[in-house]
């Protein structure tokens, strides 16, 4: 965590709706408490993004799924949905483009004004955090529309964490824009936030406290790890680490001549590590 949170605690409840065939989903309700991490997995088109969109818009039976989202066990006040200043949820969508014709600084100032005015001192902190997630540095003078996909994603995550500073954070596939996902996860977790992430990344999926499995537009099951997956998680951590090392070398222009053991042996040159 990069900042102390003064945000109130919220419990979020998802009440089941229907899948694409009109069948009841494979759960009655999911209760998400502060500090929980849940992953959402499933094939493309299975309804993963629709689920987090239901949460973000605090659906009241008025979306295709018919789900209801409660906060602290009750129907949330309208201001939670419509007024960013009261909204307890930040969502990082899959968008890797920002169309706002503003500089990064202007964008942040307007977002601070929308969320909670008077916090202009957070500008530098937000940019610094974003720059720990991305290899290419963002400055306050950059144009929003000129940011790369990875920069945009890194920026939006930092913005959600620092400007949004909400008790509930929804992330749609953070792994796919080439940003440092482990640094993102470190920043997110441990702050008593409830985190729900859509992911195709095996390590992220399995390390969550609960795993929501999607099928045909609805939740088909919820898996609560009982410890039996721990060995697999440890294996995955090692595989992930190896993959990361090789990925970084490739990104920095290394050429390889033989197998993967060699790829791991070559040291990443000094001075080329990302900030």
């Amino acid at each position: 965590m990069t900042q102390k949170s003064t945000i109130p605690e919220f419990t979020l409840t998802i009440q089941s709706g229907k899948n694409r065939f009109g069948e009841k989903e494979g759960f009655d309700c999911i209760v998400i408490r502060p500090g929980d991490t849940l992953s959402i997995v499933g094939p493309t088109g299975s309804g993963k993004s629709a689920l987090i969109n239901d949460i973000e818009t605090l659906a009241q039976g008025d979306t295709v799924t018919g789900r209801y989202i409660l906060i602290n066990g009750e129907v949330p006040p309208e201001s939670f949905v419509r007024e960013p200043a009261f909204k307890p949820i930040a969502l990082i969508t899959q968008n890797t483009r920002c169309l706002a014709d503003l500089s990064v600084e202007e964008f942040l100032i307007m977002h601070i004004r929308a969320r909670r005015p008077g916090r202009e001192y957070l500008l530098a902190e937000t940019i610094n955090l974003a720059n720990t997630f991305t290899g290419e540095e963002i400055s306050l003078k950059s144009r929003m529309s000129g940011l790369s996909g990875g920069q945009t994603r890194a920026f939006m995550i930092a913005d959600a964490l620092i400007i949004g500073d909400t008790p509930i954070l929804l992330l749609d596939e953070i792994e796919n824009a080439g940003i440092f996902k482990n640094r993102v996860m470190q920043s997110i977790q441990g702050g008593n936030k409830a985190v729900v992430l859509v992911t195709h990344d095996p390590y992220l999926a399995l390390t969550a406290d609960r795993r929501i499995v999607m099928r045909y537009g609805g939740v088909s099951s919820i898996i609560e790890p009982t410890g039996q997956e721990q060995d697999l998680v440890e294996d995955l951590a090692l595989i992930d680490e190896r993959l990361n090392k090789i990925r970084e070398k490739i990104r920095l222009g290394t050429a390889f001549s033989s197998g993967s053991s060699e790829a791991l042996m070559i040291a990443v040159g000094q001075g080329v590590t990302y900030k």
Binding site: N95, L99, A100, L102, R113, A114, A160
Partner: protein
């Protein structure tokens, strides 16, 4: 008669919003639809086919479409009444954004696309400022933070306007617009007047003279270095 006037720039999603409105109107609602455009529009045919409702279309040709809309509005209300309809939906052409077609007694709905640029609400100030509701479309194409920044930009122009964010193709979030429409009263017997004054464009360009430069024209003209338009002529 309930009168809904929907205005906004071209390709902003006005027709998609109107589709959702028609789909979600209460059962006893009998809508009719009028489209005003300059030279080409197909919305009337599409909506008639899709919903089987009476529709009408007016092409304004050389005349400003918003002025045209104002001129035909009274007849349009009578037309809808003669067909025993109780809801008239009017879709503006959405051109210069300087005119505001909203009238007393109507529900004025400005439709703006979320991808039209952060400063676009400032550029269409009168169109937004006199509306009752701003519907922001295509919000599925932008991030949550951008959505909130865009909302802030609208608030700069009209601090108190009711903002409804939607992906109008899916209809997400439109429950708030439908509630507003349901609660909007029918028109009373008072005469209907415009909420704002449309700008006048009375010069010889209006009547088809094509020369450039103010020296070639009469009426309300303006040289580059003059701060305000002046009248030239008798």
């Amino acid at each position: 008669m309930k009168l809904l006037i929907i205005a906004g720039p071209p390709s902003g999603g006005k027709t998609a919003v109107i589709r959702q409105i028609i789909k979600n109107l209460p059962e006893d609602a009998l809508p009719a639809f009028l489209k005003i455009d300059v030279v080409h529009a197909t919305e009337d045919v599409e909506l008639a086919e899709e919903f089987g409702i009476p529709v009408k279309k007016v092409y304004s040709g050389d005349v400003c479409p918003d002025h045209m809309g104002i001129l035909v509005l009274d007849d349009a209300l009578n037309w809808a009444k003669s067909l025993s309809r109780n809801t008239l939906i009017i879709e503006s052409a959405g051109l210069c954004l300087r005119c505001t077609p909203y009238t007393t007694g109507s529900l004025g709905i400005a439709v703006i696309s979320a991808i039209s640029g952060t400063n676009s609400p400032l550029k269409m100030a009168p169109l937004l400022a006199l509306a009752d509701v701003a519907v922001v479309t295509k919000t599925d194409l932008i991030s949550q933070a951008e959505k909130e920044v865009f909302r802030e930009s609208i608030r700069k122009v009209v601090p108190s306007i009711d903002i409804v964010e939607t992906n109008a193709v899916q209809g997400t979030g439109l429950r708030y617009l439908m509630r507003r429409i349901d609660n909007h009263p029918d028109m009373g017997s008072e005469p209907v007047v415009l909420r704002g004054s449309p700008p006048l464009g009375v010069c010889t360009i209006c009547i088809g003279k094509k020369e450039i430069g103010w020296k070639n024209h009469f009426g309300v003209i303006r040289p580059l270095d003059m701060p305000e338009p002046i009248y030239r002529g008798d």
